[in-house]
């Protein structure tokens, strides 16, 4: 079935406070990250790898969510910087491991770490960063007090478990060639693999800091999920349609046969013959998926309207995120940080 999905109602533009605070909070976080990762006596085969991904840039969305939540709930940026740095280091550590597991070739516009240095050294660097991320979290014991520090560690453990489960789901589906993945399965995977780490956990950490451990961190879970899900679907879309500024391998998700919303929709709506061809494509090893085969799959998604379908779903989830924003943050007084958090919803769709 081919169907053209009309665009959703016009979304509001991203407020200027979003890029402003991404620069401001992101810059402050980078300095703390450097403090933890860079040393006076660089360890051979390790130091350069540790600081590689963080120095490539990145949007700094995660640490900025943490700082903005902390400030919106009443703390200062300085109170949240240690945790923001931990979030960014942990994110970069997981990127290294993700790139290896996905056999990705490009990250932030440059060859991935394992492409440059080999898999063993890249794994080692990722491991080291996972552990180095614990340092600023443990420093919270002194700066925020044991109660708040313990709550943050507890939420970190929950996030780590959810993220590992989500990554296992995605890898497992691919390795066992699951073709019956549903939209609900996909959103469950996105919740665990993406949203918990990217949006829910940073918001929870900031909320705990800002409220001195008094606010309930579950109050931002729904908002974080819908924002993170819209973010992930948009990321999947960019992988198909973005230009070189995207910073990742174009069509990389198709080469990896990632179970994206577009793939699920295309498979559900295509003809029997097309489904047979598609299932044969999914069975292949990545190295056997040629440019021609990938182009056929991209064309299939186009014909089935899967890209527009995914855009529509992302818009719907963004609408749910707006609704949940009111529930999670509506009681807070107006502030630029509150505006920033709300502004992330349209920003998700404007990034390239």
């Amino acid at each position: 079935m081919t169907r053209d999905w009309p665009a959703l109602a016009t979304r509001p533009d991203t407020p200027s406070i979003v890029p402003k605070l991404l620069r401001e909070y992101g810059g402050a976080t980078r300095r703390v990250v450097e403090h933890y990762l860079a040393t006076d006596r660089p360890a051979p085969y390790l130091h350069d790898l540790l600081i590689d991904y963080p120095r490539r840039g990145g949007k700094m969305m995660r640490p900025c969510i943490c700082i903005a939540n902390a400030r919106a709930f009443g703390a200062s940026m300085e109170d949240a910087l240690q945790s923001a740095a931990a979030i960014e280091i942990l994110h970069n550590a997981l990127l290294i491991h993700d790139d290896i597991q996905d056999e990705s070739e490009v990250r932030r516009g440059l060859p991935t770490l394992h492409e440059q240095h080999g898999v063993p050294l890249a794994i080692n660097a990722g491991d080291a960063m996972l552990l180095l991320a614990m340092r600023p979290l443990l420093s919270n014991i002194r700066t925020l007090g044991p109660h708040v520090a313990a709550r943050i560690l507890e939420e970190t453990m929950a996030m780590a478990r959810e993220t590992a489960e989500g990554q296992a789901l995605e890898l497992g589906w691919r390795d066992t060639n699951r073709t019956d993945v549903t939209e609900a399965d996909y959103l469950t995977m996105v919740l665990k693999k993406t949203a918990w780490m990217a949006t829910i956990w940073p918001a929870q950490v900031g909320l705990l800091i800002g409220s001195n451990g008094m606010a309930d961190p579950t109050s931002v879970v729904r908002f974080g999920f819908f924002l993170g899900a819209a973010f992930q679907i948009q990321d999947d879309l960019l992988n198909l349609i973005a230009d070189r500024s995207y910073g990742k391998e174009l069509n990389g998700d198709l080469f990896e046969a990632k179970r994206t919303l577009m793939l699920i929709h295309a498979r559900e709506t295509c003809t029997e013959d097309e489904r047979t061809t598609l299932d044969a494509f999914l069975k292949l090893q990545r190295r056997d998926r040629s440019q021609d085969k990938v182009r056929w799959l991209a064309d299939l998604m186009d014909r089935q309207g899967s890209i527009e379908y995914a855009r529509t779903v992302a818009g719907a989830l963004a609408g749910a995120a707006e609704h949940e924003f009111g529930r999670a943050y509506g009681h807070l007084p107006p502030s630029q940080d509150k505006d920033f958090i709300a502004g992330l919803i349209p920003w998700v769709f404007e990034r390239t």
Binding site: R3, W5, P6, L8, A9, T10, G74, A75, S76, D79, I100, N124, G126, D127, L130, L131, M134, R135, L137, L138, S139, I141, R142, T143, L144, G145, P146, H147, V148, A150, L153, E154, T156, M157, A158, A160, R161, T163, A164, E183, A184, L187, T188, L191, I209, G210, S211, N212, M214, V221, F225, F226, A229, Y309, T312, V313, A316, L317, G319, A320
Partner: protein, 228 residues
């Protein structure tokens, strides 16, 4: 108008409010479906999380506010990190031998030692609004089966000296816990109550009311549980 001819309005261009949403009913269906599935997914996850949390807190693990418990939390976190890692290096051991991390954990202990009973309460945390409650951390010393319950302490109306008569069991036959001291919590975030619990203390819950000694204003309660 001629006799017998009825007046009628022209047919409206639309019969429903135009709220800026697409008119294609298929989009409504897609949007509604996506949002419904999304809420089901997050609802299931939250329910599972609550179940897991109930199981955990009913078992051998609960959040505590003490350096020892933080050590355990850190160990669990590092264990989880190790589980996530793709290698089998003994990274946990390497981290735990790191003197900086050891100091970060152990460094809390000395700040809890100069306890003076009845000392004025610590300044409220900078992040909290003036009317917010203060975190009350309970530090239990002695009996390893005793656990303090974290709670909140109401801000006194003016600078106060905290006092508590003791912690008492509902069973009057059981001995009470005395000599409780209040100190500023590490990092200036709230107040810590230090409770000495002898090994011989019978199992049960022991609670007491914390007051401002000058005005007798009730500021909160303190509870210690001694496990069997």
């Amino acid at each position: 108008m001629t006799t017998g001819e009825r007046m009628s309005r022209p047919a409206p261009e639309r019969e429903a409010p135009n709220r800026g949403v697409p008119s294609d009913p298929a989009v409504h269906e897609v949007v509604a479906h996506a949002v419904r599935v999304g809420y089901e997914v997050i609802g299931d996850n939250i329910r599972q999380g609550k179940t897991a949390a109930d199981r955990i807190t009913a078992g051998d693990y609960a959040v505590k506010d003490l350096p020892d418990e933080l050590t355990q939390l850190s160990l669990r976190l590092l264990q989880l990190t190790r589980d996530m890692s793709a290698t089998t290096f003994d990274l946990i051991g390497a981290v735990l031998r790191d003197p900086n991390l050891q100091n970060a954990i152990k460094g809390l202990a000395p700040s809890l030692t100069p306890a003076v009973s009845g000392k004025p309460a610590a300044a409220p945390p900078a992040a909290a609004p003036p009317t917010a409650a203060v975190t009350l951390t309970c530090v239990v010393r002695g009996n390893p089966k005793a656990f303090g319950m974290p709670s909140m302490l109401q801000h006194p109306e003016q600078a106060a000296a905290l006092s508590i008569a003791g912690l008492f069991s509902p069973n009057p036959a059981l001995p009470s816990l005395k000599g409780i001291k209040f100190v500023p919590a590490p990092g200036g975030q709230g107040i810590a109550a230090i409770v000495d619990v002898p090994d011989s203390q019978p199992a049960g819950n022991y609670s007491g009311v914390i007051c401002d000694s000058a005005t007798h204003q009730t500021l909160g309660t303190l509870t210690v549980q001694v496990m069997p």
